[in-house]
């Protein structure tokens, strides 16, 4: 058996071309919540290496475990094989150091909201943007995952402000093969195009949007949810039937109530407050029932109850949890 030799390949290039780096071969994700997990999972699924940076060892472990469980669900529903799962997990590396994103050409900040306030800490996000810029290369792109007006404010923390962009992954509906890509005030065309390339690489369509509260998806959805709640409160139909009507009748993947439970009611309320503040229109003001549920910590699937009730693995156990008596 001949001895196996290993050599670098670069010097063998036929045409002495400039060394090109693979675009998006390694990306950084800051945060360990469900959004960060979803982004890491999607990028790794399509062959990219991912560094997932968390606050402490515990939350990184929880995040990796969360991704692993999500992939198990895909295996159970026949969409993935165990060996493909191993490869996907093998491409995700957990880290506690922001500096480990140094060789990433794309870093996405996706820290979760503070469970107490429901807000994603802006000061912390600004700090992350600055820290990331210190370690990454000149042309690396720094992004946030958001649905509100924030990217321009985050960009203004940086030396190279044109390298920023905001994305909105539809984490809660994996079948939604779109990503809203938000151009901030500073975002350069080149950066925007490269991010569109990234979206293409993860087999999703770009929905180009300008920086605006709620962008398209949330601005329209929250109004629908409010209307759904008022329809329920007026006793026009039961919650289950409202969801069913929108699901079957209008082809939504989930109805408005189930969607809210999946997203988390506390997040929905924050988006609505944000829209209300921005546009001053009554239609964005969270319906009283929504506020009441949030105060009662019935925040959706992740707390075991929101509009509906769920078991520990997030399966719906009660359809009638909140059904009002229809008079």
């Amino acid at each position: 058996m001949a001895e196996l030799k290993v050599e670098p390949i670069e010097s063998y290039a036929l045409s002495n071309k400039v060394k090109v780096k693979t675009l998006f071969s390694r990306i950084g994700v800051i945060g360990c919540g469900t959004e960060a997990q979803g982004i890491a999972r999607i990028a790794s699924w399509y062959g990219m290496e991912v560094v997932l940076v968390g606050r402490d060892k515990g939350c990184v472990e929880v995040a990796l475990d969360g991704i692993s469980k999500e992939l198990d669900k895909r295996i159970q529903s026949w969409g993935l094989t165990p060996s493909e799962k191993r490869a996907i997990m093998g491409r995700i590396e957990g880290s506690l150091e922001c500096s480990s994103v140094a060789d990433c050409d794309f870093v996405i900040e996706a820290i979760p909201a503070n469970p107490e306030t429901g807000h994603r800490d802006l000061v912390e996000r600004k700090r992350i943007f600055r820290d990331v810029e210190k370690v990454v290369s000149e042309d690396a792109i720094i992004a946030t995952n958001a649905t509100n007006i924030v990217i321009t404010e985050l960009a203004s923390e940086l030396n190279k402000r044109e390298r920023t962009v905001s994305l909105h992954f539809f984490i809660n509906s994996p079948e939604a093969k779109i990503i809203e890509v938000v151009k901030g005030l500073y975002t350069s065309d080149d950066v925007y195009e490269r991010v569109c390339k990234f979206v293409e690489m993860v087999k999703r369509d770009v929905i180009p949007v300008m920086e605006s509260a709620g962008i398209v998806s949330m601005r329209l959805y929250v109004v629908l949810l409010n209307e759904a709640i008022y329809t329920l409160m007026e006793g026009i139909a039961t919650m289950t039937d409202i969801d069913k009507t929108m699901r079957i009748g209008l082809g939504m993947r989930f109805g408005p109530f189930r969607t809210a439970d999946l997203i988390g009611l506390e997040k929905v309320v924050i988006w609505m407050d944000n829209l209300y503040e921005e546009f001053g229109q009554q239609k964005y003001k969270p319906a009283p029932l929504l506020k009441r549920l949030v105060r009662a910590k019935r925040l959706g699937m992740h707390t075991g109850a929101g509009f509906y009730k769920y078991d520990e693995s997030g399966n719906l156990i009660s359809e009638d949890f909140l059904s009002m008596k229809i008079g």
């Binding site: 001949a2 196996l4 030799k5 290993v6 050599e7 670098p8 390949i9 670069e10 063998y12 290039a13 036929l14 045409s15 060394k19 090109v20 780096k21 693979t22 675009l23 071969s25 390694r26 062959g47 990219m48 290496e49 529903s77 026949w78 969409g79 993935l80 094989t81 493909e84 491409r91 079948e175």
Partner: protein, 402 residues
């Protein structure tokens, strides 16, 4: 004459450089590029003297990969070419030729247009094949290129064999019909088998079993494919490592309803979770399944029985389709190396004249051999396949006529 053979997959490139001297074809370099466009890409290279080298580094796309393959072949340190002009032609494996290509072709702009049109029939395979063709056009534009299709050999099937009994309009609209695959392999082993036993391939009835990770069986009457088990996609027919093969289409819609899955997951289910892996729950690797069966694992035994039985049914039906059979060929990784599969398939087919010599079968592994008893009516043979050589030979024939 030197011919480069390329087989471009979605993230890989396999290559072999053939040199023809007299009637002999020598492989002077071979290997593969893996993880094209992904982190950790590398290139394997095996020299004529057997020395193996791995080249590490970023290989962002197929063009870069081919650029490096040519670069290494030209290099002082490891090369086997003094200049690129030594490459007389490039032959490409192309998975799907649709109904347009019934034999290998010289690739010109018109052929490329037709290949672009056929992408919808093989969305996973044809685009990388095309990338390889474009890369050669850019890197060594004066070198003629030839396309050799997996489907071409089966274009001789009669219409009653290749049509599905679904609305004819769907055939017109989307080209839904049986195309068959592994054509290059079936063609190679049929010719080789005829050479070995000294018969005219235009006057024999051959059944050829290509049993590898993917598996298909072909009925070859007078040198022409008249039926094959793979269909519109390589999912139909025999049971494979992870593919179900033949299945009641009603099962598919029933599972999709019950498991609430879409077309994508259904495709993964039938292509990757099924077959021998799905039945046995052990592996898609026949060696591991046989090992488990010998230890008494019931599902492994069942898997082996199902695997052999499916092949046996096809042999019976193809013998009926051709009105007999003269030669039965085993090829592909399992067909060439697995005596137990060959024995299991042939058992009970003595009424057809298929009668193998147990001792010869048991001692045959990966080599050309007639394994039937001398007096048996049907010659049962093991013939290792060599698709790359067929591609090189076709390429030579076509460019010599230019």
């Amino acid at each position: 004459m030197k011919i480069l053979v390329l087989n471009c997959g979605s993230s890989s490139i396999k290559y072999q450089l053939f040199s023809m001297a007299g009637q002999n074809w020598d492989v002077i370099a071979k290997g593969g590029v893996e993880k094209v466009g992904l982190k950790g890409s590398f290139m394997n290279y095996k020299k004529e003297n057997g020395e193996k080298i791995v080249f590490d580094g970023e290989i962002i796309d197929h063009k870069t990969g081919i650029d490096y393959i040519l670069g290494v072949m030209l290099s002082k340190k490891h090369g086997c070419l003094s200049n690129l002009g030594e490459i007389d032609a490039v032959g490409h494996r192309v998975v799907h030729g649709g109904e347009t290509f019934s034999s290998s072709v010289f690739i010109d702009e018109k052929v490329i247009d037709k290949l672009e049109e056929s992408v919808s029939l093989a969305p996973l395979h044809n685009p990388p094949n095309l990338k390889g063709i474009y890369a050669i056009q850019q890197l060594i534009p004066d070198v003629p290129q030839v396309g050799v299709f997996d489907t071409a050999f089966h274009q001789s099937m009669p219409k009653h064999a290749y049509m599905y009994a679904i609305p004819y309009s769907l055939y017109k609209k989307y080209g839904i019909r049986r195309y068959g695959f592994h054509g290059t392999s079936h063609r190679f082993v049929l010719n080789r088998a005829c050479e070995i036993i000294g018969v005219d391939c235009n006057s024999v009835k051959i059944i050829s079993c290509h049993l590898g990770n993917g598996a298909s069986i072909a009925a070859i009457h007078n040198g022409r494919s008249v039926d094959t088990s793979m269909g519109f996609t390589p999912l139909e027919g025999l049971i494979m490592g992870t593919r179900s093969g033949d299945l009641d289409a009603g099962v598919v819609t029933y599972i999709m309803d019950k498991e609430m899955i879409g077309t994508r997951s259904a495709s993964v289910l039938l292509n990757k979770h099924s077959g021998m892996l799905g039945v046995t729950g052990i592996s898609s690797d026949s060696r591991e399944i046989y090992a488990a069966a010998e230890e008494g694992n019931e599902l492994a035994k069942l898997g082996v029985e199902m695997y052999d039985y499916r092949i046996k049914k096809y042999i019976g039906s193809y013998a009926a389709a051709m009105g007999g059979v003269d030669v039965l060929i085993f090829t592909g990784g399992i067909g060439e190396n697995e005596k137990r599969t060959r024995a299991g398939v042939c058992k009970g087919l003595e009424f057809l004249g298929i009668d193998i010599d147990e001792d010869v079968n048991n001692s045959t592994r990966g080599e050309e051999m007639v394994i039937s008893k001398p007096e048996a009516k049907v010659k049962v043979m093991v013939v290792p396949t060599n698709e790359e050589l067929v591609i090189a030979q076709d390429t030579k024939t076509i460019v010599e006529k230019l």
